[in-house]
Amino acid sequence: MTDLSSYPALSKLLGRVASLWPEHQDYIDRSFADRNANVMAVSERVASCALRLADHMEGGLDGLCADYRFLCEQIVLPEEMHFRRNNRYRLSSFADAQRECYDNAPFMGRYMNGLLISNVIWNNHAHAITHYVNAYLPGQRVGYDLLELGPGHGLFVYFAASNPNAGSVSGWDISPTSIRHTRAALETLGVDKPVQLERQNLFEAPDDDRRFDAIVMSEILEHLEDPVAALKAAKARLRPGGTIWVNVPANSPAPDHIFLVQSPEHACELVQAAGLEVAASEAFPMTGATLEKARKRQLAISCVVVARNPA
């Protein structure tokens, strides 16, 4: 079992998950077996956020843990079966995903809560958010202006606004429910700088002069029918030399994933097709798999791409 004595938030969160779901202990142990100190430090911060958010949830920490189990057993498992049988995601249109998922508020609430915990426990998620906190944000200029598209649980804008170099931090989402969710999360977590949250459709946003040094698209592209079009629209919002941080999972079935990214190379190709220059890319395999085995077995890989606007 992983020694978590130096990580009080992780110790409390993982202890509660394992207490309520003892069969998951082996998975947790495997997921934390090889994490270095940098990843552990970020996971501790994310766990601390999750615990604070849980304090303001109706079901508290136990409800949050139950939602994580619901995500693993009731949401992901059936989709994983479909993906393995058919080699494709079950849905392929945004309208279907909206009907099945986005319009179902109680379902989405549990889904989002489960994903919050996945950022701590799932190895690929934990490494991706560590890359964002430890590599991407520190590389930004002093006074940077950052926009996240689809801020969801709020962790990425929270970390951006907590960074001392931040100038302004914004979040756009098409869903008023999601905006309310993000705003409530940020109020609970508390941020040093205000985060401008707007109901905004990237494709229909007013053609004003707002441009950003950094744009974050974490787990967005797989929800879209035409991810390249979205990347092109994001590129139009970047300053010359500005960068986009893309995190997209390959081979990761979920009820609202409609675009199948097949490999880290595929993720880079999408970004390049939008006219962006890839500056760096990382591939983080799912818990229990090496990158080599994840590629061979078509297992989930979080593909992180940092790309520059050359215009």
Binding site: D26, Y27, L77, G288, R297
Partner: protein, 80 residues
Amino acid sequence: MSRAETLSKVQTLLRDTLDDDSIVLTDATTANDVAEWDSTNHVRLMIAIEAAFGVRFETDEITAPKSVGELVTLIESKRK
């Protein structure tokens, strides 16, 4: 197909799934006894079993067997 033959075929499928020819299964073996037999690889195994035995599992049947013996029993029940 006898129960022993079903067990042997499951063993072959698991070896293929995990790329490990050293795996030896008995009725008492559980996923925790085999390195890499995690939830995702379990789904891969069950889908391979579906194809090899010509059966189809419901979602709740995927995680129901708690041992190889229970898995073999499930397969035999589906083939009747």
